[in-house]
Structures are given as structure tokens and as C-alpha cells.
């Protein structure tokens, strides 16, 4: 088990190194950020001054060495645009993103799991067909479109909810619905397929043969086991929602990390984009590592075969 943990941790570190190199290179491929920090007509000496100030006059390898060195020291750099430490910006926005992601996750659970369960139990029936339509719509309706429609209906016409920003719980309703809708659809599909698979297994048949009532078979034996992959997906979804709810946060002017990333990309704010991506990467790698270890702990075959 110890060896397994060490091996998986090494893989995680290598993954993060590759991620850091990839994001470092990719942001630089987009061009010179200094041209976006000035208006057309800016003087050459002003641009040169800015380039030197941010160390962009160094070669890429030197810049990368500084970047990695800083990360190891816990420093994600200073944002070009904000002139603030990236970590400070990130952690300032994190509670907002967590709040939105948790609300969206809750909504996706409330919609996706019961609907998926119902679809699986009433397979090919009306509930299943309705579930398929909901899943299809959830996965195909673009978030920005849904967001704008929600604003138009609930904010502009009905005047029930505020349009954007973050003041009280009412501001959370539309963005969490718009964000959770997509994930509800994916949870619905996974719950349905997972449940169908479990319901075909031998122990379910045995439970039925034993004469257990249908709801007990479904709830106690079927649903409980079908929930494992669903919860795994929900965990990863949560991390994605925290870090990459870009469109929804922009549409609803929600002050989260996704919007921070959007602004960073838009402004070619290298430290900001690098920092957000690396921190999101760390979160995802950490969650995956934890899941791997838990799986290996529960099922010894995993640690022996991998």
C-alpha cells in the first residue's frame, strides 16, 4: 500500500510539472501581453519599461525557472492587471466559487439523481423518456444562453430575482440553476446507467428471490451501490465548478474564480492564468489521488494490478 501511495504521488507530481510547463508555454504562445496593457499609439519606451518591469524581457527558460522556483516557495506571482499576488486574488474569490459550486452541486443532485433513479426503475417508460429529454437539453443548452434567458424571464419580466452580482441568497438562485443544470444532466445519465448495471447484477436478483420488497431492493441494495461512481463524478464536478464556471460567472457577474480566469485570459495576464490553472490542477490531482488511494484501500486488487 505504501509503495502504491508513493508511486501515485510521484505520478501526481509529474502531472503537475507537465501542467505547469504546458500552461506556461501556452499562455506565451498567445503573444506579447504588453501590447494589451497599452492603447494603440503607446510609445515604445513605455512598452519597453513595462516589459522589463515584469521580467518579460528574459528568455522563456529563465522565465519558467522563475515561475517554478516561485511556485515551490508558495508564490504564484503578481497579476499584471491587478498588481496583486495571484494567491491573494484566488483565495479572495474561492469562497464565492465554493458557494456557487456547492449550490449548483446540490441542485444537480436534487434534479439529476432522483430523475436518473426514476429513469432506471421505469426504463423505457414515460419517466425514462422524460429523463432522456431533460438530459439531452441539459447537455446541449449552452450555459450562457440559459443564463440570459433566466435573466430575461425571472429578472427583467417577472422581477423576482436580481440580475447579477452577489448580495444575498437571491443572487445565487439563477447562476446555480444555470450551472447545475448541465451537471444535473450528466448525473442523471450516469445514475441511470449505473443503476441499470447494478439492477442487472446477481446480488440484486438474489435479493429479489429472497422476496424483499421492490423499494428495499432499489434503495438498500441497488441505489447504494450505484451511487459510488455518481459520487466520484460529483466530486470531480465540484472541483471543475469551483475553478471553471467561466461563462456562468461572467453572465451573472458572479465574483468567482472562473471569472478571474476569464479576465486573465482576456488580458493575457500570464501569472494570473498560470496561477489559477496550477491551483485548479493541484485540486484536481489531489482529489484524484485521494480517490485512487481510497479505491486501493477498499479494493486490494487495484493496488496489486496498478
Amino acid at each position: 500500500m505504501r509503495q502504491f501511495i508513493i508511486r501515485r504521488t510521484c505520478y501526481s507530481i509529474i502531472t503537475l510539472l507537465i501542467l505547469s510547463l504546458t500552461i506556461f508555454s501556452v499562455v506565451r504562445l498567445t503573444g506579447d501581453p504588453v501590447t494589451l496593457m497599452a492603447e494603440p499609439g503607446a510609445r515604445a519606451e513605455d512598452l519597453a519599461r513595462v516589459r522589463t518591469q515584469w521580467g518579460l524581457d528574459h528568455s522563456w527558460p529563465v522565465q519558467y525557472a522563475h515561475f517554478v522556483q516561485n511556485i515551490l516557495a508558495g508564490n504564484l506571482g503578481i497579476s499584471f492587471n491587478y498588481r496583486m499576488p495571484v494567491s491573494e486574488l484566488y483565495f479572495e474569490r474561492l469562497p464565492n466559487s465554493l458557494q456557487l459550486a456547492l449550490a449548483a452541486t446540490l441542485l444537480s443532485f436534487l434534479i439529476g439523481i432522483p430523475a436518473g433513479l426514476l429513469s432506471a426503475v421505469r426504463v423505457d417508460g414515460a419517466w425514462d423518456q422524460a429523463g432522456k429529454v431533460v438530459a439531452l437539453l441539459g447537455l446541449s443548452i449552452p450555459g450562457f444562453w440559459l443564463g440570459l434567458v433566466l435573466i430575461l424571464v425571472f429578472s427583467v419580466y417577472l422581477e423576482w430575482l436580481p440580475t447579477g452580482g452577489k448580495n444575498d441568497w437571491r443572487n445565487l438562485v439563477m447562476p446555480s440553476l444555470a450551472l447545475g443544470w448541465y451537471f444535473a444532466a450528466s448525473l442523471l445519465r450516469l445514475t441511470r446507467s449505473s443503476m441499470l448495471e447494478v439492477m442487472r447484477s446477481e446480488y440484486i436478483k438474489l435479493a429479489r428471490l429472497k422476496g424483499l420488497p421492490g423499494y428495499v431492493v432499489i434503495a438498500k441494495h441497488g441505489f447504494k451501490n450505484a451511487l459510488v461512481p455518481v459520487l466520484t463524478l460529483a466530486g470531480v464536478n465540484l472541483v471543475v465548478m469551483v475553478n471553471a464556471a467561466v461563462i456562468i460567472e461572467v453572465v451573472f457577474a458572479w465574483p468567482g474564480i472562473g471569472r478571474l480566469l476569464f479576465e486573465g485570459i482576456f488580458q493575457r495576464d500570464f501569472p494570473l492564468v498560470q496561477g489559477v490553472v496550477v491551483l485548479a490542477g493541484i485540486m484536481i490531482v489531489f482529489v484524484n489521488l485521494l480517490i485512487d488511494i481510497l479505491y486501493a484501500y477498499i479494493d486490494p486488487r487495484i493496488r496489486l494490478t496498478r
Partner: protein
């Protein structure tokens, strides 16, 4: 409608300056009018169109763009500034100034009793510190030309220059060009450092910062000791990047002012009787015919250049791109800068254009490899491609991302091979020469060697060396006239930055809220009132 009024004469003679100083004194409202007048009431929210960077709250690091002044005008104050129809020398912290005849010194007299938001008085020491430690746009120019800054007495400060610095006031007072004239509290700034200052800036402007969520929200409160009346007590600037959301906020009353209403939502705002659309004139757009000075270029022939100008349907572009609310300017340089020349509207005449093409030996037109518009104004590029087709000029549209475009325009002819047209757009403050030096001069930052007219560059050199105001004005106008008469550049139009005003704001017309002609923003903030 647009702002037509502008200062008729901007030649800075000593007599003018003294007269200006007297006029400034006459404009002064009573000191402490805020406390003496009605107390500020209510709240106003501005929906800003991008993220709000804390660096814009520090005039010491002004990036030379037209963005920070939206924030500086609320939080800070300058000795003189652009405000209303005054281009650069509206009295602010200085109640008057004097500019020496030989352009080698400038003296400013501070108002009596002015304070920073922390209660400390604004002193000449603060002015000296702010100027000497300024490190933003054009800092190198100010440093190279300034010999010393002397504190004459407790309200008087004098700047001495190594050589005549005729553009000093223009640059010093243009808040969308530099931040050198803006005053920060020296003691506090040194105590908290630049980073600390950006988090909790203290200024001497009409509003003090109550709280800041970096990039998201700025909350201000009226500064009771400001030297002019401030009418609204709470002022919030909220970053709302999505245009449709901003307009919805305006409709719902969650925002009172919004910037950047896109074309597809203009009608929605116009049709709503509770709202008011503010088509604020902004940057100018023009065509550069790359390498026209090369005899091998089809653009070398003046008749071809004129034909291109005649083929551009400016009214149609203005209608389609700005709901007809932009300005079909005859000049490629804005008229809100010193010596910016007014030029009559340019003709659209396809028959004449075709005739000129025939006379120039291109009866069937010719092929342009690429027409490249400034990003993200691709639709304007499409329209131009289509309009040029009417006289046989077959061009393909080349789309570049904004940063790439800006970088490419710094390169020379070799990087723009073949037959190419560039559609530029810019808003540069201060003086016409900032436009010429950047976009036309041979070797200019955004012109490189793509345009080289030795005769005009020689005139420009004379302009730069001259300290004779009349001569400078004449040279500036000569150069602009030559460019326009010879169609060296082809003006397209001046576009409108569409904004919206909500029902709670007191305004008869949009200019009541956007009175300043040198900006797209709604300052002076202290002048905005709520209804009732």
C-alpha cells in the same frame, strides 16, 4: 448629438495663461461648498464593462490608456485636468497657474484648505513627491525635461525645465494620457507602499473609497471636504462584463449608468422610455494604404487613393455600426486634441471613384491581398471589403486577435508584403502630434517604415523644435491638410461608445451626465444628481 464646443484657442502664451488663470478664479465655487450646500444623498451604481484593476486606483502607475481616468476622477484629483469642454487645464487642486513665455517653467497655486480623504492637507510637498516619484506613462519624458521642482511657499510650486517644454500643460493635464499631474498623499504613500496604496488608496477627489473587492466592486462615499459640491452620497462601481446583463441591470434599476451597450441592444435601450441612450463620441477609424509612397504600389497614384475614399460609404457604416450616432468625421484625428483639424465630411461618389480608377489605369480594379481591421471591429472590415468591391478593388479580410494586431502594426513594410490595407482605430488624448508621431511619422511606433513622407516629417521636426505657438499651429494644420488632401490616410468615421442612463439620474439630455468631451466616461462624478 455630439459635443461641438471646444476651446477655440489652445496656444499657450503668457498672456493667455494669465487670462486663463483669472478665468479659472472666476469659475471657482465657494470652498467647502459640500458642507455649506445640501448634503449628498442617495446612491448611484455604475455597471463597468470589464474587470476593475486596483492598479487604476494609483495615478503613480498610470498606464497611458484611456481607462484609469474613470477611477482617478472619482478618487483623486490633479492640479489641472480635462473636464467638461476644457481639454487639459480645468482648475482642480490648483486654483490657478502660470506658464512661462519661454516654456521653461510652470507655476501652480494650490487652493486654500484642500484635504486628502484622511484629513491631511494637500501640500506642495505632496505635489513634488507625486511628480518626482511618478513612474507611469510618459514618466521618462517628464524626467528628461524637468530640471527641478521648487516649493515656493506653502501653496505655490514651480516646475523648471531644462529646455522649452511647450507640451507640458497638455500632457500634465490630460488624465487619459499620463498621471503625472495627479497628487497622492506623500506620507501615506511612502508608509503603505505602492501595493498597499492600491488596496487602500487615499486621494483628494470627490469620493473616498469605502471598500474594494479587487476586480469586482468599488464602493465610494462622498468626501465632505471636497472643494466642489458632491451630490450623491454612495457611489458603487460594479464590474459586469456581459453586456446583456448590464442592460438588464439598467432596466431593473440595479444600475443607474452602464458603459458599453452593444449594437444589438441599442434599440432595446432606445425604445425604453425610462432609459436614455448616451452615444458618446470616442475613437476615430481610418484606412492606411500600406506603402503608398512606393512607386510600384497601386496606392502610389493619388487618384486611386481618392477613389478609395470616394468608395467608402461612411453613412452606411455609421448607421450599421453605431445606429447612426457616430460622427462622419473628415479627419482621422479626433477634434478633442490640441490642433486637431476640423475637416468637412468626405464625399461618397461611386461614379467619380470609378472614373478615377479608369484614369489611373485600373478600369477593372485590382486585387488587395489583405484588408486587416483593428480587432474586434471585424464587421467594419467586412463592410469596407464589400464597399471597395464596387470600384473593382477585390480585398480579402484578414482577422487578427487584438494583441497580435497591435504587435503587427509596430512592424514595417516587409511584414505587410504585397498590397495591403489596414483599418486602424484609436483615441489618443492631448495633442494632434501624439497621433502623427505614432501612426504617420516614418519610424513612428505604429507606422514603422510603412508610411514615409519626408516633406511632412521635416515639417513635424520643425513643429517639435518650435516654441512659437502660431508657427506650431500653422505647421500642425499644414501637415494634417496635406495628409487629407492627398488621401495619404483615408478617414472612415468616429465611432460612438454607447452607454445608458437609468431613470433615477437627473438628466434632460445625455450630455448632462457625459459633459466631458475628452473621454467616454461620465465624469465629473460630483456633478451627477439624482432626481427629486
Amino acid at each position: 448629438m455630439e459635443h461641438n464646443s471646444r476651446r477655440s484657442a489652445i496656444a499657450l502664451t503668457r498672456r493667455d495663461m494669465l487670462a486663463g488663470g483669472a478665468a479659472m478664479l472666476a469659475q471657482l465655487p465657494a470652498l467647502g461648498a459640500t458642507s455649506a450646500g445640501a448634503a449628498p444623498i442617495g446612491a448611484m451604481t455604475l455597471a463597468w464593462h470589464t474587470a476593475m484593476a486596483p492598479r487604476w486606483l494609483d495615478p503613480q502607475e498610470h498606464d497611458g490608456t484611456a481607462t484609469p481616468d474613470n477611477f482617478l476622477m472619482a478618487l483623486h484629483d490633479a492640479l489641472i485636468k480635462n473636464s467638461g469642454t476644457t481639454l487639459f487645464d480645468h482648475p482642480a487642486l490648483a486654483e490657478r497657474y502660470e506658464f512661462a513665455k519661454d516654456a521653461k517653467s510652470a507655476t501652480f497655486w494650490l487652493r486654500e484648505g484642500i484635504k486628502f480623504h484622511n484629513g491631511e492637507p494637500v501640500t506642495p510637498e505632496d505635489v513634488k513627491f507625486s511628480y518626482e516619484s511618478y513612474r507611469g506613462a510618459l514618466a521618462s519624458v517628464f524626467k528628461a525635461k524637468t530640471e527641478a521642482v521648487d516649493i515656493v511657499d506653502r501653496r505655490t510650486i514651480r516646475f523648471h525645465f531644462k529646455e522649452p517644454f511647450l507640451d507640458f500643460l497638455l500632457l500634465f493635464g490630460s488624465s487619459n494620457v499620463t498621471g503625472a499631474g495627479w497628487v497622492v498623499p506623500a506620507k501615506y504613500y511612502q508608509q503603505v507602499g505602492p501595493d498597499g496604496f492600491k488596496r487602500k488608496p487615499i486621494g483628494a477627489g470627490p469620493y473616498k473609497l469605502a471598500s474594494q473587492q479587487a476586480g469586482i466592486k468599488l464602493e465610494f462615499e462622498a468626501f465632505e471636504h471636497y472643494y466642489r459640491p458632491v451630490h450623491i452620497k454612495h457611489f458603487t462601481m460594479l464590474a459586469v462584463p456581459e453586456a446583456a446583463t448590464r442592460v438588464a441591470m439598467l432596466e431593473r434599476g440595479e444600475a443607474d449608468l452602464v458603459y458599453g451597450v452593444p449594437g444589438e441592444l441599442i434599440d432595446r435601450v432606445k425604445k425604453n422610455t425610462k432609459l436614455m441612450l448616451a452615444p458618446v463620441l470616442s475613437g476615430s477609424f481610418w484606412l492606411e494604404l500600406v506603402g503608398f509612397q512606393d512607386p510600384k504600389s497601386p496606392f502610389h497614384d493619388k487618384r486611386v487613393r481618392q477613389a478609395i475614399s470616394l468608395a467608402v460609404d461612411r453613412a452606411a457604416i455609421n448607421e450599421a455600426e453605431a445606429a447612426g450616432l457616430g460622427k462622419i468625421s473628415g479627419n482621422w484625428i479626433n477634434n478633442d486634441v490640441q490642433y486637431g483639424l476640423e475637416w468637412p465630411e468626405l464625399e461618397h461618389n461611386l461614379d467619380k471613384a470609378r472614373q478615377l480608377m479608369r484614369e489611373a489605369g485600373h478600369p477593372n480594379g485590382f486585387t488587395v491581398d489583405w484588408l486587416t481591421p483593428l480587432a474586434p471591429f471585424y464587421a467594419r472590415g467586412e463592410r469596407l471589403v464589400s464597399q471597395l468591391q464596387a470600384i473593382g478593388i477585390r480585398a480579402k479580410l484578414q482577422v487578427m486577435e487584438r494583441g497580435v494586431f497591435l504587435q503587427r502594426t509596430q512592424t514595417g513594410k516587409q511584414q505587410w508584403p504585397g498590397v495591403q490595407i489596414i483599418m486602424h482605430g484609436a483615441r489618443i488624448g492631448g495633442t494632434w502630434s501624439n497621433w502623427y508621431e505614432s501612426f504617420f511619422k516614418c519610424g513612428g511606433f505604429n507606422a514603422a517604415d510603412r508610411l514615409c513622407v519626408a516633406e511632412l516629417d521635416a515639417k513635424n521636426a520643425r513643429y517639435q523644435a518650435s516654441i512659437d505657438h502660431a508657427e506650431r499651429k500653422q505647421l500642425a494644420e499644414d501637415i494634417q491638410r496635406t495628409i487629407l488632401e492627398n488621401h495619404y490616410l483615408v478617414p472612415v468615421f468616429r465611432h460612438a461608445f454607447m452607454c445608458g442612463i437609468g431613470p433615477r439620474i437627473a438628466a434632460q439630455k445625455w450630455q448632462d451626465v457625459w459633459p466631458t468631451i475628452t473621454t467616454g466616461y461620465a465624469y465629473p462624478w460630483e456633478d451627477i444628481k439624482l432626481k427629486g
